[in-house]
């Protein structure tokens, strides 16, 4: 009996790891959409950049991984700030989306040129390489570590947004930018920081998640679509709990769901989004934007 449940438990664990990875990426996107009201179509490219960075810098040691994370954060901060400068003079949603789309195109072209278009799988730090076995069902140690890392990351995000002064300022800027400015907050700076942080989260997710969703052509639009689904379900902005819930839901659907009903594997998420939209009222969806 127990042995019947093991495959499901292992699959569910996979769903958790996958969901947490998506949470980190989608949280970044939610921040950008929520604070800037910009649909960042290059967000998937940020993940991809992080994942490639992991491949170049990872050398099978924890130090290598740490270096990759730090390098990613530094690069993302610069890129995010640059992007905010690029987006500043543009007014409409469509133009901003077009510019980020263009950046996405150029990035994926450059990645293919630099990597030869291979789907890479970076070496995992030696002590995290290998798998644990549950009644013959393996589960990679790295993914488990990722879960262990991502939970405090999610908790940290939650605490930062809910408890810290930075989070208070962020929420104030999302709720009412003009009033936030009248309180002495520099809304322009908060926006730049939000964009940089959002990009940073995507890049960090890429660095840490490269062994889970490895870098390769097409991964950018795939990650973008998945994180969009999370943001649509969980709402743009600063509601970490809702985002985490929907990210885990997506992770579960992508794991347990596809194993149960393979026929629906490719549609299930889209159908969920549409069902949610039908159920949820117009007003809520608009205010989420």
């Amino acid at each position: 009996m127990v042995s019947d449940l093991v495959p499901w438990a292992v699959t569910a664990l996979g769903g958790v790891a996958y969901g947490l990875l998506l949470f980190v990426v989608a949280d970044g996107l939610a921040l950008i959409v929520g604070v800037m009201n910009v649909m960042n179509l290059a967000h998937g490219a940020s993940y991809l950049a992080g994942a490639y960075l992991a491949c170049w810098l990872a050398d099978g040691t924890l130090t290598g991984l740490a270096v990759a994370v730090l390098a990613g954060i530094a690069a993302a901060a610069i890129a995010g700030a640059g992007l905010s400068v690029l987006l500043k003079p543009l007014a409409g949603h469509t133009e901003q989306a077009a510019v980020t789309l263009g950046i996405g195109f150029i990035a994926s072209w450059a990645f293919t040129r630099l990597t030869g278009g291979n789907t890479l799988s970076p070496p995992r730090p030696a002590i995290l390489d290998g798998h644990l076995s549950f009644a013959g069902h393996g589960y990679p140690v790295y993914d488990l570590t990722f879960i262990v890392l991502a939970i405090p990351l999610a908790a940290g995000m939650y605490l930062i947004v809910r408890r810290s002064m930075a989070g208070i300022r962020l929420r104030a800027a999302v709720d009412d930018p003009l009033m936030a400015a009248a309180q002495g907050l520099s809304v322009a700076r908060i926006r730049t920081i939000a964009l940089a942080t959002g990009t940073m989260l995507a890049v960090t997710a890429g660095v840490l998640g490269a062994p889970v969703i490895g870098p390769g052509p097409g991964v950018d639009s795939h990650v973008l679509t998945l994180s969009l689904i999370v943001v649509i379900l969980g709402g743009a902005g600063t509601n970490i709990r809702a985002l985490l819930t929907s990210a885990l839901l997506v992770g579960m659907v992508e794991n347990i769901g596809v194993a149960t009903v393979p026929a629906l594997a490719s549609f299930s998420l889209f159908l969920i989004v549409i069902a949610v939209l039908v159920v949820r009222g117009h007003r809520q969806a608009v205010s989420a934007a």
């Binding site: 543009l90 989306a97 608009v286 934007a289």
Partner: protein, 341 residues
């Protein structure tokens, strides 16, 4: 293929109700007509002066132009859509199935594709129109993704990743349209007809209502315009335009497959509409058409060695910054031609 500049009146023009004809406006009629006629002439004789490759590219540009115009019609209603390829797909597969059933007549396929896409649009509209702005953009990306997944996996209808091969269309029985030049002329004629239709639409009350909704939705509701109905009709019309593009895809490719309606095509259609808006300052059909041609020329012709995405990316990254300049020019010219009041 620039005939369409003559046939497709743009939003700027359409915004002018008939009772506001101005004598001074006629002064500008002639040079504009001249350009339009020249462009139309060039479009018509294109197969005689260039090779098959350019002609086929031009036909491809016409398909992208229809997709872009479909997107642009929604942009007029301030709805940024990334998902019009879904209706291109509905049109293409409908035409393919008609052809499979032995109905190779081009006009029949065109009307079938347009109708099916319109029906699909009407079915989807109530769902997507629960959102506006950035959320609408995100939801239409979902629609695109769903359509691509359906095309890939609903094998019994779509032929899966291989798609559906179709016999060439015929315009009169027994004469299949196989020559690139004839396919192009047919596509051009369809574009001209669609352009005329869109031109009529842009002057119609529907587009006025769409622009009203874009400008002040509560006011429109308070005048008795149901947002879901007005925008839903607009969404349906936009879907129909994309469906016509789908029918042309079958003419040019004799094939419908998921590759023609993936993220790349959707992105190109979205970019064409967005860049078109930047080129003319406001969402216009002329702008969408011009941008579609530019995208095909850059991405497919110049960038055929894998640099296509780079060129398209650079285009997306530069053109939006032209818009303030364009708007300034508009204002400048508007002031200069203002009659001394």
């Amino acid at each position: 293929m620039s005939t369409v500049t003559a046939i497709t009146p743009d939003a700027i023009n359409a915004a002018r109700p008939p009772l506001l004809q101005r004598a001074s406006a006629n002064r500008w009629r002639r040079p504009r007509q001249g350009v339009a006629v020249a462009a139309a002439g060039l479009a018509v004789v294109l197969p005689a002066i260039t090779g098959r490759y350019v002609v086929t590219l031009a036909a491809t540009a016409i398909i992208l132009a229809l997709l872009a115009m479909s997107t642009q019609l929604l942009a007029v209603a301030a709805l940024p859509s990334f998902g019009q390829t879904a209706f291109l797909a509905v049109g293409a597969y409908t035409a393919a199935h008609l052809a499979d059933a032995g109905l190779t007549d081009g006009l029949l396929q065109l009307s079938g594709a347009t109708l099916a896409a319109a029906l699909a649009g009407a079915a989807v509209a109530p769902v997507v129109l629960r959102t506006r702005g950035t959320t609408f953009l995100m939801v239409t990306i979902m629609i695109q993704g769903l359509a691509a997944a359906v095309a890939l996996h609903w094998t019994s209808v779509t032929g899966g990743d291989e798609g559906v091969d179709t016999p060439p269309v015929t315009l009169w029985p027994g004469h299949p349209l196989t020559e690139a030049a004839y396919q192009y002329w047919y596509a051009l004629a369809v574009l001209a007809a669609c352009g005329a239709g869109i031109g009529w639409l842009m002057r119609s009350r529907l587009v006025l209502v769409l622009r009203g909704h874009a400008g002040h939705e509560p006011r429109m509701a308070a005048l008795g315009h149901h947002p879901t109905i007005g925008l839903g009709l607009g969404y349906t019309a936009a879907a129909a335009i994309a469906g016509a593009g789908g029918a042309l895809l079958i003419v040019v490719n004799q094939h419908a497959g998921p590759a023609d309606l993936g993220f790349g095509t959707a992105a190109a259609g979205f970019a064409a509409a967005a860049l078109g808006t930047c080129l003319t300052g406001t969402p216009t059909m002329t702008g969408a058409l011009t941008a579609a041609i530019a995208i095909i020329a850059l991405r497919d012709a110049t960038g055929s060695n894998g640099t296509g995405p780079l060129y398209l990316g650079l285009l997306c990254l530069t053109v939006p910054y032209l818009r303030p300049t364009v708007l300034r020019l508009h204002r400048h010219w508007a002031r200069r031609s203002e009659p001394t009041a």
